[in-house]
């Protein structure tokens, strides 16, 4: 321990230390390359999204951050602490909400949280535990056995467990899977508050509209590699096209106007608002009467699909 402490003190403080720093991390499971040369820096206070299809390697990467899994190559630092060399400090700085809905059926909610807190050396932490339970609407269930909770309630306890030691960096692995709308919104509000209080947040989710509205920066993983890593705004700008959806009441769709069928309606790709005018002109000249029309901006889901398709 002593040598690690000294090592930490001697390190010159860099201008801006990253909350999470992943360097050249690879992970193999037998023949499967789950992660390949991952480099990532998440700044302090960021709200960061980690997206990717099933099996892309999101949970594996999170497990490496948490020390649950070990990288075959590369290194990871949490708040400047190496997750293997200085695992105590690294783990103290990190709160993880696991993807799997795990719980210990021997204990009540309060016991679960007290134990978790104690594992971090915090044995007189009831004020904060009560506050976390209150924020997550768990107070009424404090003395209920974990076994007797619904799935959504168990999920809230998992979130609470990740927060007992007030970690500066919080990683949530699909926290809203199987969670109802109300809890989802409550949970996001809570996470947003943590973020505005200065906590760094990393989340994975398959609900892309959630990621779009919450995350300032997003990384997309596919088969263990990053295929995109950019601000959400820049990612959304990647798809230049807007979609103009039209349904005709009468008339024949002019062949000159390129469009795809979408359930009886036609969708025309546009590059700018100006093109709306010309589309309407072509339709008027072909004596088409419009029944329905709307203009859709590309959303993160479109961008995601496009990136996953092309790379």
């Amino acid at each position: 321990m002593a040598s690690v402490e000294r090592y930490r003190i001697r390190r010159p403080g860099r201008a801006v230390m990253a909350a999470i720093e992943v360097r050249q991390v690879s992970k193999r499971f037998g023949a499967l390359q789950a992660l390949a040369d991952i480099d990532l820096e998440v700044r302090k206070g960021e709200f960061f999204g980690l997206l990717g299809p099933n099996g892309a390697g999101k949970t594996t990467l999170i497990s490496i951050l948490a020390g649950l899994a070990r990288a075959n190559t590369g290194s990871v630092r949490i708040m400047g602490h190496d997750v293997t060399l200085d695992y105590r400090s690294a783990r103290r700085a990190l709160g993880v909400v696991p993807q799997e809905l795990v719980f210990d059926p021997f204990f009540t909610v309060r016991e679960t949280l007290r134990n978790q807190s104690g594992y971090f050396g915090l044995r007189a932490n009831d004020r904060w535990i009560d506050e976390v339970m209150e924020s997550l609407d768990l107070t009424a269930k404090a003395d209920v056995n974990m076994r007797a909770l619904s799935g959504g309630m168990k999920r809230r306890v998992l979130v609470a467990q990740a927060l007992v030691h007030k970690p500066p960096v919080i990683v949530l692995d699909e926290p809203t899977a199987g969670v109802d709308v109300e809890l989802r919104q409550g949970l996001w509000q809570f996470v947003k508050r943590l973020n505005s209080d200065g906590h760094t947040i990393v989340l994975t989710t398959h609900y892309l509209e959630e990621a779009e509205s919450m995350c300032a920066r997003i990384a997309m993983l596919k088969q263990g590699r990053f295929v995109a890593l950019d601000s959400t705004a820049n990612l959304l700008r990647r798809l230049p096209s807007m979609h103009l959806r039209l349904r005709l009441r009468s008339g024949q769709w002019p062949a000159a106007l390129e469009a795809v069928d979408a359930g009886g309606a036609r969708v025309v790709k546009l590059r700018s608002y100006g093109e709306v005018e010309s589309v309407l002109t072509v339709l008027r000249e072909a004596r088409c009467e419009i029944e329905e029309m709307d203009l859709q901006q590309p959303d993160l889901e479109d961008v995601f699909m496009e990136i996953m398709r092309s790379k």
Partner: protein, 251 residues
Amino acid sequence: MTGFPTLLYKEVLRFRKVAFQTVAAPVLTALLYLLIFGHVMDRHVRVYEAVSYTTFLVPGLVMMSVLQNSFANSSSSLIQSKMTGNVVFVLLPPISYLEFFSAYVLAAAIRGLVVGAGVLLVTTPFVALPARELHWIVLFALAGSVILGALGLIAAILADKIDQVQAFQNFLIMPLTFLSGVFYSVHSLPAFWQGLSHYNPVFYMIDGFRRGFFGISDVDPRMGFAVVTGCFIAVSAVALMLLKRGYKLRY
């Protein structure tokens, strides 16, 4: 020592919450052994002069309960956590492998010793046990319980399924215990089996423990304790090595 006190507390709380299964049931089992074996054999077998068979039997049963329950505690706790996935709760915090080992093993020893004390207590109406060399009672009980606690930890680390822990218990721990002289003195065995018994570490635990009560034993208790200590060091080294590497815990 960050997480150790809480991990120990949690492990003890876990078996306390189901004390009916984890303490009362094994005490009852030991009592049944005593009533049946004691009743059937008391008039036919006499191992040591001046000690009735039933009296001879009690320390063996106590030690057997200590050992089996120590093993059961650490092994079932860890394998259940592994199977349900809640082992992540103790893998995420800054708990060192040494703390992890100490907490599981100590909690296992506490369970074993509580059950052992229970067995001793319920048998008092039936036998009047002397305690000639109290220190051997304490030393062998402690050593036996921590060794089996550590073995339980190893079994749970290596196992991928609950059945495999049970197999470890049924095919290793049980035979070693039954063939260690719980129900007899190894001196009553044919020479070959007597020789073989001396390779069974559990034999030394039972023999040394019994020595504390009657002041008589098959082998010198100092020799026995040396063997038992050696076992503890070996078993702990294996468990610590597995934990340090994160074998089957951190992938």
